[in-house]
Amino acid sequence: MGNGETTVEKESSTETALDIPWNVVVHNDPVNLMTYVTMVFQRVFGYSKDRAQKHMLEVHQKGRSIVWTGVREPAESYVEQLQAYLLLATLEKAQ
């Protein structure tokens, strides 16, 4: 049973590492149409048109926008979905 306790401890520390928040970041590129980027944010995250447009404009004007923050696994899934829509999306640890 002693080993079992050790295992539980390891799982706990793994969980903690995975729980570090990650940002999904979308970067500007001159090719993707603004209307397309807005549609993608609505589809992938279920954002309202206003919220999707706010992120799209942030990408366009500031070069990047943090479009979602949370645990790593769904963050990776979102980045993959955004890349499937051909947006320049990356993952970074939240500050």
């Binding site: 001159p30 149409l33 890349q83 499937a84 990356t90």
Partner: protein, 163 residues
């Protein structure tokens, strides 16, 4: 040069196409294929982090899924592009319909083509923001025109999807 775009019950109909536009449409899946250009490949298949090890995993596990997704969409567009209609004996009256159920795949492949062309020819933001080249004298001019024409088609599809 005229392209007439109308919404039908079944999709988006492009009519009054001359052979130049027919060829531009046929070039969509060809232009979308990034195989001949490192820059295009890197743009279509980007990495996800600044960590080299995580990026190796991304290349190993995510890129094959993306490739499968892009290839499926591209194959569908290729099949649709086999259905041009020549409406009379002249070579400037062709028509073509993008089926409504394929709009998503068309949006995706048009985007692949625009991104791959922009990466291959290193188009700058200023060139992308204008209405396209005023004259077409080089392959680069033609490619920039392609990017703008494909963008126009994307806008038509997006307008329809937005209702």
């Amino acid at each position: 040069m005229t392209v007439e775009v109308t919404r039908t019950d079944d999709g988006l109909r492009l009519a009054r196409l001359d052979l130049f536009f027919v060829e531009l449409l046929r070039q969509i899946p060809v232009s979308a294929d990034p195989a001949d250009s490192d820059a295009a490949r890197e743009r279509i298949y980007p990495v996800a982090t600044t960590d080299p090890e995580a990026n190796e995993d991304w290349r190993a596990y995510v890129h094959p899924e993306l490739k499968q997704f892009f290839t499926t969409a591209s194959d569908m567009v290729r099949v649709d592009l086999e259905k041009f209609e020549q409406l009379d004996d002249t070579n400037d009256n062709w028509a073509f319909e993008i089926p409504a159920e394929h709009f998503d795949q068309w949006l995706n492949v048009l985007n692949q083509a625009r991104l791959a062309l922009a990466a291959r020819f290193e188009f700058q933001e200023k060139e992308m923001g204008q209405n396209g080249p005023r004259t077409i004298e080089t392959v680069r001019d033609l490619s920039l025109f392609q990017v703008h024409f494909y963008g126009f088609l994307q806008e038509c599809l997006l307008q329809d999807l937005a209702g």
